[in-house]
């Protein structure tokens, strides 16, 4: 998408007046649609649609050996796949850099034990642990990918059911796991502290959240903040452009404020989802 100067000025003035081109104020999000438990073969899944951005996340669980330097912890890994369906730019290896950036930011945001406790995923110290594979598929790309992906990941992890292990038998070096026969015997993951990401975009003299594609074009610099409770688990600047230290501070404040609200809204919505609801394109 390319904009002419007049269009850019229009967006710029709109942001200065706190009335953006789609009627939102600077701290407002576009409507978000979320549904969970939509992939049969996954242990947890979620689909999120934020305006035109469509994300599908599925969590697979496998048994693995813990890293020797972290014998008490399980593992979590993020894979992002930018499907060429989303935009033709992703064709071939086009989406690779974006995919790496997204998965690195997610990994960094989930790294601290305060945000996501990997110790719960340990089965037997130094021998066996659960490994979570979080696969993120970008179906449609309508701006603000970081926020959408983090919300979808959190929803999918909320929905994830870890199989219950009845007993562990150790015979020499062999470890045998006895998984419960009942498929409904499972544990939920604790995601209350899992981070949500907010992209804060500087347009003109002001900062906005949830920029659409046109607004992303007018931005002079943007940062992504991952908020876990009121703490920052990752902050990183994205795209070309630099910020003054003061602007950075004010965008951090804005990001924190919006992130806390966003997290509350998400947790509230997730707790109200019941299993018999019937909607979405995959059901």
């Amino acid at each position: 998408m390319s904009l002419c100067d007049a269009e850019k000025t229009f967006i710029l003035h709109g942001v200065a007046e706190n009335f953006r081109s789609d009627g939102r104020d600077r701290e407002g999000y576009r409507p978000i649609e979320i549904e969970t438990d939509i992939v049969q073969h996954a242990f947890g899944s979620a689909r999120l649609r934020l305006a035109n951005t469509d994300i599908l996340v599925a969590v697979k669980i496998e048994v693995d050996t813990p890293l020797p330097e972290r014998p008490f912890e399980g593992k979590i890994e993020f894979f992002v796949d930018c499907s060429a369906n989303a935009t033709p730019d992703f064709e071939g290896r086009g989406g690779e850099t974006l995919a790496i950036e997204l998965s690195n930011i997610l990994a960094s945001a989930y790294k601290s034990p305060k945000t996501f406790n990997l110790k719960k995923l340990c089965i037997l110290k130094g021998k066996k642990c659960w490994k979570l594979y979080v696969d993120i598929l970008i179906l449609e790309c309508g701006g603000n990918l970081f926020d959408a992906v983090s919300l979808a990941v959190k929803a999918a992890l909320f929905n994830t059911k870890v199989p219950l292990i009845k007993s562990v038998n150790i015979d020499g070096d062999n470890v045998e796991l006895d998984v419960s026969d009942n498929v409904f015997d499972c544990e939920r993951l604790d995601v209350t502290n899992a981070p949500v990401m907010v992209t804060v975009c500087k347009i003109g003299d002001n900062c906005v959240v949830d920029p659409n594609l046109a607004e992303e074009q007018c931005s002079v610099g943007s940062i992504v903040v991952a908020i876990s409770q009121e703490y920052f688990s990752t902050v990183t600047s994205i795209g070309i452009g630099s910020l003054h230290a003061q602007t950075l501070c004010s965008s951090l404040e804005l990001g924190q404020k919006v992130g806390i609200r966003l997290n509350e809204a998400l947790m509230d919505t997730l707790s109200h989802i019941t299993s018999d609801q019937d909607f979405g394109f995959l059901k």
Binding site: S112, S237, S242, Q256
Partner: protein
Amino acid sequence: MPVDHKRINGPEESVPYELFARLSGLTSEKAFEQLYKAGKRSDGREFEEHRKIFLKNGAVSQAKGSAYIEMGQTKVIVSVFDPREIPNRSDYSLKGELYCEFKFAPFSCAKRRLHQQDNEEKQYSCIMKKALESAVCLHELPNFQVDIYALVMHNDGSALSAAITAAGVALVEAGVPMYDIITSVTVGIQQGVKLVDPDSLEEQMCQVQFLSEKYQDNNHGLLIISKLHTQEQLCQFYQNGYVSLEVLKSGLEVLSKTCEVIVPLVQKCLIKHITNGIKS
């Protein structure tokens, strides 16, 4: 992780022996306690004091521009090559591009690194590219790509910051048009203590959450910024861990101040480069 099968990768499941030694020795928590009691760091520095820096340009004769930096034990070499046409591109782009490759040498860390870039290195390459893109006048290099390679020969913490600072010098030597001098500093945060330019042990210390009761403060993490000196712009900012807003803000101030300390060093190195050029 794809593995390069043409090289010797060592036994499939080998583990560095230090792991077994460390379990009985000094844990991060104990190391922090010692450091906190002494009010000084293990190498005699204050908490907010940067290590001594050795910076030299022209380290690689084949490259258009290059720089070698030493910060304590951390040693990084950066080389910049001639701008060339962007490969595999059919359309003409008005702006130039940077290609950054950040690599740890296999022997640079306690654990052996593979020859192929792993995720951490890819992430560091991204951060480095982001920092340098804002410092280079990309519109002066239409349809060209500048290649920047950073190789860490010894990693003793803050390797990324060292690489970015050195890359700035290397770019100047290569004659790439730039807006400003770029400097970068890392700070580690643990229990409200800010450790400027942490070494690898301190970096590790700042990545973990202390479990014992006496440490109530949850703040821990690493902050890295790159700053354009004259314009006072932060062209790159990265934080991980778990940090509150106040700590983040005060950390930012400390980082900005420390960046100013490094600027004269970079300036001196550049002046030396020019005077040498005139003499010869």
